[in-house]
Symmetry: C2
């Protein structure tokens, strides 16, 4: 055959960088991975999952529904518990937080995917933080959607740069192609940065002010995947609490990170017409996520096993983050800018601009030889012709490595940095 | 706002007919649904799922991996067990049946969705049985892919008509838009028809012979969702056993129907370049189905709890199918053509052409008043301008209703038919 039968999407979709990183990790036994976004194995709720599943499957009355099909939107009890929990976190109970806006999905990833399907045609534009969650960039790339990067500061994206980007798109006549802004608002993947409520409000207002020129709503897609992994400081209300949120804010959350990644259960709260559209799309994807897992999370939330589990893992991550912070202070050069986090799984390191961190860089390759892996920062930047991709940063995760491995991994990376800089001088 | 921000796909995607049927069922307490494609609640493996999950979660060694992320393609052990099982069913162990072609998905529905994403652009064509599985039609409609119906006979689709359709598309210059033929080959949803191996071979050969004119491979997508629910007669080898299958046949299977619908676990075997493409797409959808459910199925298969469960439910469905057959013989008019099945969940009934069965028909509405629900046949036909949609058929499921309800439901439907025909005469 001269041609393949693949679709444009099929041809476009590339293996995600994470596959390559995972393969690399597997190919190097003895490697310490500070790259994986996995949660800590030791903290997974083996005992409480066993207890809860035993209860669910103890009788045909509760067991059969858990092993049967459910509805596309998800178990009513879980949708309600999800809404209630968000109301508690946000200290607000209004239209934006209603249970009938909740859809239960296979991880928040599926919610992100379907939301992009519902909103974006090929050639459309989504604004993203610069840098951002690289699997989200994969969704956009795969679907031929363009990403425009907006500079990220410690307390969220730069409002001045957001306005400049919107203004540029308005001038170039491309504003009608903009559909949404994607914000990983709590302990962002990859930088650990958290967006202040004031910035969320300003972002929503700014988007609103460009809607007339766009000719349609500009949605704020808030990805709060790491919100419940806060181990220091105070929780910040979500964008759902903002004035005008009820018809503009999409909220994506997950129980994967906070309970068990092996459960792969996430959720979204969406305004109409997006809610109905995403439900219809999910009807074609899988007509509902596994009921058994939904029953597990329903019971975990209702019995507060979920809350107790969260308390335990927060303490664990607090300890590991402190270990990473100390190790970085000890082993990394003084001119490295370190973004530590009050939650989530990641630290972000900015090295002096002359030190390249990319996959092909001396640093990455030498680190690999020294048996330590990080995520090169450049993987987290959109293909945006408006700026060159920064290539002197790294994401370090304290999620899955043991405390000993964290210390050793950071020490190895620090030694690699010293090794290279001494060679150069 | 003057315009909505929805994508073309977002605008196109409609609520699936099944949602409407489910809502109707819920709104009529006392209704007997012969419409639902659910499996039998009473046969769900509550006890064995409990036992297996207890084993998995008994120790951190086996419990932690089940609650952690896995790989996008699925658990290696489950991929291997899936391949082995298919090899046993097909009595063949070759390239087409290799474990490294297996991808584990959220129901076979997700496999169908991603395969269509990998293959079809808007405006492309997929050949389908006439009638076919209506949720598959939903995928095509949502993505702007055209469906061309090929007449269905009792032993699979009409080869003469398939050739005529291919010839017509060749003449109209549209053959390059054809990407695949979709075949629900075992106890088809909705008709219960099973495709003979001879027909599968002839179909694959015919597709091959049009590839030169198409300019690319024409895939045979075999959906074997109901294969393991055979309760009479001998299993038929899959299309994977055919000469030339290794680079043209996509096989979709599921553990949802055969073990537990609430597990939502399916799988596919795909040739390259489709396998890699679908894996990459799944990386964007959810980067892997829930590991906990995969661990459950792995253990069910390895311990033969799966096989024992299958034996039990096959006996149950055999009994229920016999009840439906007797009830139809007793209560339905003699001029109704009844397609009974040797497996699966469905019977198909063709009434005389003058008796309309659609949602708006007198029959459907009167049946609803008499508290019995069926799936109108017309919902299972593609929007194909090449022929009018038949509207005198119905799908009857013996899956979820109890034995008593089956008898009563068919009696009510029969009475409704007599009621309407006596009024007319």
């Amino acid at each position: 055959m001269k041609y393949s039968a693949l679709s444009q999407q099929g041809r476009r979709t590339t293996p995600p960088p994470i596959s390559w990183l995972m393969k690399t990790a597997l190919a190097h036994p003895g490697l310490i991975s500070l790259a994986a976004g996995f949660t800590d194995n030791a903290t997974l709720p083996v005992r409480s999952a066993r207890k809860l599943l035993n209860e669910i499957l103890a009788t045909p009355q509760s067991g059969q529904p858990a092993l049967q099909y459910g509805t596309t939107a998800g178990e009513p009890a879980l949708r309600q518990l999800t809404a209630t929990r968000l109301q508690q976190l946000d200290g607000q109970q209004d239209k934006s937080h209603a249970a009938d806006r909740v859809i239960i999905t296979s991880g928040s990833q599926q919610l992100l995917y379907m939301t992009m399907e519902a909103l974006c045609d090929e050639g459309d534009i989504v604004l993203v933080e610069d840098p951002t969650y690289f699997v989200f960039l994969g969704i956009l790339q795969s679907r031929g959607v363009r990403a425009c990067g907006v500079k990220l500061e410690r307390d969220g994206l730069s409002l001045a740069h957001l306005e400049a980007v919107l203004e540029r798109l308005k001038k170039s006549g491309e504003l009608a192609r903009v559909k949404a802004l994607y914000l990983v608002s709590y302990f962002q993947n990859p930088t650990g940065a958290t967006t202040s409520l004031a910035k969320k409000a300003a972002v929503l207002k700014l988007l609103r002010s460009y809607e007339r020129a766009a000719g349609h709503p500009l949605y704020l897609l808030e990805d709060a995947a790491y919100r419940e992994l806060r181990f220091a400081g105070q929780d910040i209300p979500s964008a759902l609490t903002l004035r005008g949120a009820a018809d503009r804010v999409i909220y994506a959350g997950t129980y994967s990170k906070s309970f068990a990644t092996g459960a792969r259960l996430g959720f979204g709260l969406l305004p109409e017409p997006l809610f109905s559209t995403v439900i219809n799309i999910k009807g074609n994807h899988d007509f509902g996520s596994a009921n058994l897992i939904q029953a597990l999370l329903t019971r975990a939330l209702a019995s507060n096993q979920y809350g107790q589990h969260l308390n335990r893992i927060r303490k664990g991550y607090a300890r590991k983050a402190a270990i990473m912070q100390r190790a970085l202070a000890e082993h990394f050069p003084a001119d490295a800018e370190i973004w530590s986090a009050e939650g989530g799984l990641y630290f972000w390191v900015r090295l002096p601009a002359k030190i390249r961190t990319g996959v092909k860089s001396k640093l990455f390759q030498t680190a690999l030889k020294n048996n330590v892996l990080y995520v090169p920062g450049s993987l987290c930047y959109a293909d945006d012709p408006a700026r060159p991709k920064p290539d002197h940063e790294m994401r370090l995760s304290f999620g899955s490595a043991s405390e000993t491995a964290l210390r050793e991994g950071v020490a190895r990376l620090g030694a690699t940095l010293r090794q290279l800089s001494s060679r150069k001088s």
